[in-house]
Symmetry: C2
Subunit: 402 residues, 2 copies
């Protein structure tokens, strides 16, 4: 008998009506002879409502209490879903992260899963029951404190649980049809991707595709758990994320990220160890630096540029101001008017000339490239935000539609 | 240093504004040099909202899942309150029932507290922190299942916690000024009771006073923890419930209960063991039988009357229909148009003639008495519901105002 882990996110469990649709998806899976373990998020916007309450009562809510607060959300979803399944004649019960044996690091709000014992989950499976597990939350083994996993946490719970239980696959249900060759809201001709490798999905997630977070894909790759991204509200078969795909496209997708800002430190003395002096303090302060470009040195001075999330603007500016003085640089600057456009494709490894073709297409469209960064299966260009749509359209047309 | 347990119920923690008032009450207590442990309920009507959601998704929600669902409520209150206290500069943290070491029986929805280890509560106290504990909930030691305590559960948590921690007293904050000689909404001249014994408070709670549940008073009596019922939204000193009071009134209060229904089994063969045959099946089916009156036997047949909560009407009727046939009785009848009016007073024990005076007053007011029941410190009369107001007014006037 096959075990399948199904995960349903906020919009799928938004209200009693959508919970009934979710229950039917679960029952369909169970009726095909599978054992089913379900991971759920908090209902719809309930997490945001709790955060708003917290902000009304505290300027800087303690992360420990914030986790206590937010972990109430999944309890509500999971118990309601279990009741409903029971009502439909399917034996079911719910478990908190702690009860499911999900132990994490102690970093509140951004904890990492360390281990999943899953004893009570396994007991439930052996009794033929549908076990519902709270996503997003766990417990620190030493301190017994409740933790939450941060953004994409429920997906991570689902994939890690699938790995721990030796599940055949992990189905991530969402309000879209699956993973597309580009964001369908931006590119009308974007196509659903049927199969994609973990590596490609990781690059897509890291370069702007929001349907699946990188951390859950990493779990899938590490333990070789196939992840299927599927729609809750239709019958589509979705996108399978796995180790190898049958037909490897050269370019699988075009992604974009317009939520970043570009920073530049000008005229930094070009000495060994200078990059560490710049990026050390940024990393220590939790800044998530993305692309980094260092210009060729002129007169023993160089310019260092990098991108970081828009919401970290003021933190980065403060750090750069200090660094500029310390390192005797010529100044610092920031540009929020940028977008990153990336081509992703495992087939690139075996195919030369993709990068130069990309640069040509952008050039033909009179799009200036501000920064370039590559991996074996990705090429990213930072362009002016006003050129983003044209860049995506032209790249999608040449590499995917052609 | 004195330790005080403070409990704040649903209306006291209804929204961020009332939570700020609650925080001030806590800080006032702490600033007087006390250690404070706080017990909270779910916010305002949030429990009812969760119950409504459950009813939308299940005809008969599993009690185990219902407890999982409802226990989310206190988490939200306690973490918000802890954050707010932190924000005001008072170190505070929150603990679930399970984290506070509150172990209970396994009966979901109606669990009884078995033990409170309170280790993490004591640690917090020793560190000078304000510890917030979830009321109403606990965990079963053997099965590790989350339980809830049912109606009045948060009060029970507070008093039991005060007992376990050896607290000086337990303050129960509420939206009224304290315990009154009668319901102030019914009797305009009702007076606040300054001091009352556990025994009297138990009788008052059991005979209609809703401000404090009997189970928490029982804890207070058993462990001799003074309970103070106080207002959240004013500076009143409230009512102290304790072992002995300075000046023992003959009659401390007049209570009423108009949420009961009277049932009668007519012409039951008057044999030994007949009462057991009637009340055994009722008790097994969870019917909370209150007053019982058995008429004098005529021609070896007797009538048995009793009262039970209005909401159990249909269950009781079903059981009585069966019993009537089994016991060869002459029929069963129910009367919802009744009210119970009671006099409570520990002074009655030393004073004779209170009962006959009560009956006379009711008679003078042309109020017919349908049933009578007494304890050493209580006399209850069941009257027609239409006569309730007159009965309470006249008794309050003669025994309390006089």
């Amino acid at each position: 008998m096959n075990l399948i882990v199904q995960k349903f996110g906020g919009t799928s469990v938004e209200n009693p009506e959508t919970l009934k649709i979710v229950a039917q998806k679960i029952i369909d899976c169970k009726s095909k002879g599978n054992e089913v373990v379900v991971v759920v998020s908090a209902m719809g916007s309930s997490t945001d409502e709790l955060i708003n309450l917290a902000n009304e009562l505290s300027d800087t809510p303690s992360p420990r209490e914030m986790d206590m607060l937010l972990s109430a959300g999944e309890r509500i979803t999971m118990s309601l879903l279990a009741m409903h399944l029971n009502n439909l004649g399917y034996e079911s019960f719910s478990l908190t992260g702690s009860q499911a044996g999900i132990t994490t690091t102690s970093r509140h709000g951004m904890a990492e899963i360390e281990n999943i014992s899953g004893e009570r989950v396994k007991e439930g499976i052996n009794e033929g029951k549908i076990v519902i597990v709270a996503g997003f939350q766990g417990v620190n083994k030493e301190t017994k404190e409740i933790t939450t996993l941060g953004r994409g946490g429920s997906d991570a719970t689902a994939v890690a649980l699938a790995a721990a239980l030796g599940a055949e696959k992990c189905e991530i249900y969402t309000d879209v049809e699956g993973v597309f060759t580009a964001d369908p809201r931006i590119v009308t001709k974007a196509k659903l991707i049927e199969e994609i490798t973990y590596d490609e999905m990781l690059e897509m997630a890291s370069s702007g595709a929001r349907v699946l977070m990188a951390r859950s894909v990493e779990f899938g790759r590490r333990y070789n758990v196939p992840i299927i991204v599927k729609p809750t509200f239709s019958e589509g078969s979705g996108t399978i994320v796995k180790d190898k795909v049958m037909e490897q496209a050269i370019v699988s997708g075009v992604t974009h990220n317009d939520k970043e800002i570009k920073f530049t430190l000008f005229g930094v003395p070009d000495q060994p160890g200078i990059a560490g002096k710049v990026f050390g303090p940024l990393s220590e302060n939790g800044v998530i630096v993305d692309m980094i470009v260092q210009n060729v040195s002129k007169e023993s001075k160089t310019d260092i540029s990098f991108t970081a999330p828009l919401e970290q603007k003021s933190e980065v500016e403060n750090i750069l101001e200090k660094l500029s003085t310390e390192l005797e640089a010529e100044g610092a600057d920031s540009d929020p008017n940028i977008a990153r456009v990336s081509l992703i494709g495992a087939g690139m490894k075996a195919e030369s000339g993709i990068a130069s073709k990309m640069f040509s297409i952008l050039g033909e469209n009179k799009i200036n490239i501000a920064m370039i960064s590559t991996s074996p299966i990705r090429i990213s260009c930072v362009v002016n935000k006003d050129d983003m749509q044209k860049a995506i359209d032209s790249l999608h047309k040449e590499f995917i539609e052609a």
